[in-house]
């Protein structure tokens, strides 16, 4: 066991993968000698050589087009997109090609690739760097979308993603990189790609969330606990697929649900979660499913981002509304 940051756990996972699978390759803008702008690939080129870890020209579509070609040839390609907000440059390979790959070959071929990219906000980046696009990716059939929230899961989910023969988008929250630490086994292990985690048990209300909002929801749950409200918190861990079974079981117990997401009301997977809960658990519900989201503007300039992002107070307020309905 080692006490690692979220970023350190991802680096550790990448090392395990490079050691275990000869056909893995890490590439992208600045991932070589520079070790990535968030230092996730720090030291990997020295350790594994420039045939396994290398820089590419700066062009997201080219990087992911190349990824498809390498995946076609059986390589477990591990491209890094420097910020997920730049992935708009790569929507054609992601949505037009990679997601459709297996179906287009009639199921005769797999594309065993994992696209890693930082997402979310709250760390004071220049404009056009922060965004939460998990809902967009989650709405593309053919992809798996993974959103880890703690060091243990980050490594285990990453190794599952790399092991998987289906294409995965692995979203690393910017604010988690250095803000959380945890015990991480040194050896290779996996966390399943289709199981949500109940991170806090409760009886009065279910809070369904992901990414950095898991941590904000836990803070809210502590505050609620002091006021006598017992909230159960579910960390989705994967946005595609969504583990509805875990959510359903929880809602059958609590009879109330609040969906929390960092992205805007029109974005994310919140709307989809609410309708799935409504459809599957309607007779169990004592109150309408409600949600906490960012407002429907584009991601703001840094000066106002903390006001824009949802936080524990908004989650407490909405949860109380749901309880008092």
């Amino acid at each position: 066991m080692a006490n690692l940051t979220f970023a350190g756990a991802i680096t550790d996972g990448l090392k395990n993968a490079l050691n275990k699978f000869d056909d893995t390759m890490i590439f992208g803008q600045d991932v070589g000698p520079n070790g990535g702008v968030f230092r996730i690939t720090d030291g990997l080129q020295d350790e594994f050589g420039d045939k396994r870890v290398f820089d590419t020209p700066l062009a997201e579509s080219g990087i992911l087009g190349m990824t498809l070609g390498l995946g076609h040839e059986g390589f477990r390609a591990l491209p890094e997109l420097q910020f997920s907000a730049f992935s708009t440059e790569a929507i054609s390979p992601i949505m037009g090609q990679i997601s459709r790959y297996r179906y287009r070959y009639g199921g005769t071929r797999n594309l065993p690739i994992t696209i890693r990219t930082p997402f979310g906000g709250g760390v004071g980046t220049p404009e056009l760097h922060s965004d939460s696009m998990e809902g967009l990716f989650g709405g593309i059939p053919g992809l798996r979308v993974v959103v880890p929230t703690n060091p243990y899961d980050a490594k285990g989910l990453l190794l599952s993603a790399i092991e998987s023969n289906d294409p995965v988008i692995f979203l690393e929250h910017l604010k988690l990189y250095r803000s959380v630490k945890g015990e991480v086994p040194e050896e290779y292990y996996t966390v399943p790609l289709d199981k949500a985690a109940v991170v806090k048990e409760g009886t009065d209300v279910t809070i369904v969330t992901s990414g950095f909002m898991v941590h904000e929801s836990m803070k809210a749950a502590d505050k609620l606990e002091k006021e006598g409200i017992s909230a159960e918190v579910i960390d989705l861990r994967t946005i595609a697929p969504i583990d509805m079974e875990t959510i359903r079981k929880s809602v059958e117990k609590t009879h109330r649900a609040v969906v929390v997401q960092e992205s805007q009301r029109v974005a994310g997977v919140g709307g989809n979660l609410m309708s799935e809960i409504g459809e599957r658990c309607f007779m169990e519900l004592d109150a309408p499913v409600s949600r906490v989201t960012a407002p429907d503007s584009v991601y703001p300039f840094v000066q106002i981002e903390n006001e824009w992002l949802p936080g524990p107070d908004a989650i407490v307020e909405k949860t109380k509304e749901t309880i008092n309905f």
């Binding site: 045939k51 590419t56 020209p57 062009a59 579509s61 080219g62 992911l64 087009g65 190349m66 990824t67 498809l68 070609g69 390498l70 995946g71 076609h72 040839e73 059986g74 390589f75 390609a77 054609s92 390979p93 037009g96 090609q97 297996r102 179906y103 287009r104 070959y105 009639g106 199921g107 005769t108 071929r109 797999n110 059939p141 053919g142 798996r144 998987s164 023969n165 289906d166 790609l193 289709d194 595609a240 697929p241 969504i242 583990d243 509805m244 079974e245």
Partner: protein, 368 residues
């Protein structure tokens, strides 16, 4: 050392690359040899094979158009006129080389090894057309035209990494060079030094939009210069020139570990697909001018004079193609219709909850 320009001669700058991109030719329109040295590099047998391929390609194109009109296929992007650019180019490859075709390159894909019934299934919109043998060295036809170049670059990267002595050839068209992926693909290929040959079949039109409206560049070959990629413009109606250029490009790509861009100047005699009318965007005179450049006409003239070809052989090939196509249609018709369940089954190797739920739902429906 950076060479410095001490005098600004702007007039010279605006002249551009005109002189560097003259169209390479071996056989002229009449079948007269222009480049004798290169011609001598080909055996009689190779040239007769080449003729058989382009005649076969033309016959298949004509037959596929008829099959579409009869309703046997769902659509077809015609390729008549482009045989030198497609079949001549393919001839320059060797066993084990990898092909990334576009939607207009299906006939040539069959010559590369795609079973004809699968080619027809693709036209008909049946995914069975894309179920390839594991070791078949080809990607499914690309539709987002320049995207294939970036994929081909990735495959070429993989071949080089494994020290395979094979190249990757990507077919694309004139309007694809307007897309960002065209540049990203050739730029990566140059930066990484991978054995990729990009063949831009410049047939003059992106569906209906003429090349001069796509770009201010005098040639499409010169677009490779910016990426540091060896680039050449070839007469795309001269099957010997395309054959020779690809053969040389292949040698260079493997020896130097570098990509090559080949622009072939060609023309499609028919419509873009079965659902457009070329009379709306090009003239009868223009078509007739290009018909004079027909690759079959010039190679026939050359081979006939050499006593290596008789026109009766062309009739035989046409009959063979008609028979092959008939057999392919019969095989295609034996294939079961697609099912929603299969579609869902093919989305992921490990099926997520939502897919499993929907498979169950459609199973019940489709078993009825």
């Amino acid at each position: 050392m950076v060479e410095k320009l001490s005098k600004l001669n702007f007039n010279k700058l605006v002249e551009g690359y005109k002189d560097d991109f003259k169209m390479y030719q071996v056989l002229d329109e009449k079948g007269k040899v222009v480049d004798d040295k290169t011609m001598k590099e080909f055996t009689d047998e190779e040239l007769v094979d080449l003729m058989e391929d382009i005649v076969w390609g033309r016959a298949l194109d004509e037959r596929t158009i008829i099959l579409n009109r009869q309703g046997a296929l769902a659509n077809y992007a015609t390729a008549g006129g482009q045989e030198a650019s497609q079949f001549g180019t393919l001839k320059g490859l060797e066993k084990g080389d990898f092909l990334v075709p576009g939607y207009r390159d299906i006939g040539v894909s069959i010559k590369h090894g795609l079973p004809m019934e699968q080619a027809f299934m693709w036209y008909r919109g049946h995914v069975g057309g894309n179920k390839y043998d594991k070791d078949f060295q080809m990607m499914v036809p690309q539709v987002v035209v320049a995207g294939g170049i970036t994929h081909a670059m990735g495959v070429a990267f993989a071949k080089k990494r494994r020290n395979e002595e094979n190249v990757v050839l990507a077919f694309t068209g004139d309007s694809a060079t307007s897309e960002g992926d065209f540049y990203e693909g050739i730029n990566f290929a140059g930066a990484f030094g991978v054995p990729l040959i990009v063949v831009v079949q410049n047939n003059g039109y992106g569906i209906s939009v003429p090349v001069h409206e796509q770009t201010a560049a005098e040639t499409l070959a010169q677009k490779g210069v910016a990426a540091g990629v060896a680039s050449i413009q070839v007469d795309g109606m001269d099957p010997v020139a395309t054959y020779a250029a690809t053969r040389k490009a292949r040698e260079y790509a493997l020896k130097e570990n570098k990509p090559v861009l080949i622009e072939t100047m060609t023309y499609r005699f028919g419509p873009h697909t079965m659902s457009d009318d070329p009379k709306k965007y090009r003239t009868e005179e223009e078509l007739n001018e290009w018909k004079k450049k027909d690759p079959i006409v010039r190679l026939r003239a050359y081979l006939t004079e050499k006593g290596l070809w008789e026109e009766s052989r062309e009739e035989e090939i046409k009959k063979e193609v008609t028979k092959e196509a008939q057999q392919a249609i019969e095989k295609m018709n034996q294939e079961p219709d697609m099912k929603i369940v299969d579609l869902l089954e093919n989305m992921y190797e490990v099926k997520p909850q939502n897919i499993q739920e929907q498979i169950e739902k459609y199973k019940a429906k489709e078993q009825k």
